[in-house]
Amino acid sequence: MKLNTLTLTQAIEKLKKKEFSLSELYSDIQLAIEKQNKELNIYLKVDEDAVKKAHKKENEMLAGVPIAVKDNFLTVGLPTTAASKVLEGFMPPYESTVTKKLQDAGGVVIGKTNMDAWAHGSSTETSDFGPTKNPRNTEYLPGGSSGGSAAAVAADMCIAAIGSETAGSIRQPVAWCGVVGLKPTYGRVSRAGVVAMGSSLDCPGPIGKTVEDCAMLLNVIAGKDPYDATTLPQPILDFTKNFKKGVKGMRVGMCYIDHPQLVGTPVDHAVKEAGNVFERLGASVELVKLSDQIKLNTILTPDYAISLYTIVQRAEVSSNLARYDGIRYGNDRSNFGEEAKRRVMLGTFALSKGYANKYYLRAQQVRSLYIQNFKQLFERYDLLISSPSPGYALPLGASTNDPMFGELQDFLVEPSSLAGLPGISVPCFRDPSTNLYLGLNIMANYWQEEKMLAAAYAFEQSTQWNSWIKK
């Protein structure tokens, strides 16, 4: 058996039982990287000393396993570019909280993964260092912006990975690559040391081969951080404790499949099938009807969220990217790629005198409506399910010259992301003719990651779509 194909849970268990050595595990991982990275363009940088670092962590919880990390997390000793030429050659002087926690728990950063430059996009095609290809079918995009991390997991070029999501950047690429990814509640995981995109939205999160792997990694990275004032002050739960509890008695609402863009599509079919699965597992499932206004027991159309997200995200992007002056670090602002230019400039406009109230303030009011809508719905439902993406992975080149590609691809997760809610995406279908996957996005109320992990695990165990779980 090739050791790089092990899940996180399996790798740790087998390492602790001394069924193989860390050197053997790293040798298989490195072989997979050497064989595939040139074509897939997943890692921007691989740490040559990873195996040495791993040996020092043998006795710790994560046992020295190799974890791939998106290149927007600051890592001391490894260059961090956020896939932008503005940061080419930048060596971070401090460590992000997430990667510090990961290493303190015995994980090793095997390498830094490709992404849309500055996390601006949903394709990994806007990377200044070339696109990543989808390991399931190399003529297709991996999605993004955490496309490199999702692809690293899909290609078994790591044991697990870390990504980050503003609206869709974990859940859309994991759906397209046929892996599992979790976007926590805003504030569950620290943003300190993550190259900022939309500060009121950004959430680091785990990407793994199974739900259990994601639960374990979430345990490691979650928690209050003095360096991020928006992190939750309460002590965190043990997410590995209750994920096998099942969905019996849970109330599940199916969302967005009556949206005109989805009716009759493979996504519509897959979500209904998932509803059937949950019903068989003992949950009560019903359709939450779409509405174009706030109305009891209906879900507000995601159409307004595209507009709202475009304004909020670009405004925050323009503010966050103002710091890149090429003086203290990095290169000057002429190095911004097309997408970053578009976003920074439109955001600058939306915050400029005479327009801030008209656009930014109005967007934040519409944001309140979405929050109000979800609060109502979570009084009636334990979980809401939808597709994270309107369809399968798109072919390479699909995002080129489309100024709204990301916002339109992610419209189904924008409402919940703008509300700061958590979600997990698990594989829920594979098209045998293309080998491409669909994901199921399971959303819960604030801080209810435990509930959605239980549902995701139950779904994963009772369906055939996870390629690492042999049935």
């Binding site: 578009r342 400039m345 967007a363 009011q365």
Partner: protein
């Protein structure tokens, strides 16, 4: 920038040039045209915000409702850079300082 009765806004290359100056991003005249076109497409989508009734709705900027998160006003030595660390990534330094472009009395 021209605004019509409702909200639709159209950008000219000159508008883009002005925003580029505010954002301190160099753009060529060909890019100005292209960006103006892209902004117009984007703002058509953004305009859907005006189809929603937001009367009496408070804006939200912080979703989990935390307020006034403070810390003690104490120096945290673990977060301090040495001068060497602080300057390590700079393109140009002089006598332990960052060298910055001239902005006053710029020719």
């Amino acid at each position: 920038m021209k605004t019509t009765k409702k909200s639709t806004i159209t950008f000219s290359p000159q508008d883009v040039k002005k925003i580029a100056t505010l954002a301190k991003i160099p753009v060529t005249s060909a890019e100005e045209k292209e960006l103006a076109h892209g902004f117009n497409t984007t703002m058509e989508v953004v305009d859907k915000l005006f189809n929603v009734d937001v009367a009496h709705v408070e804006p939200t900027s912080q979703v989990t409702g935390l307020i006034n998160v403070f810390r003690e006003d104490e120096v945290d030595a673990t977060r301090q850079f040495s001068q060497e660390q602080a300057l390590a990534n700079a393109k140009q330094i002089y006598n332990g300082f960052f060298v910055v472009p001239q902005i006053i009395d710029q020719p």
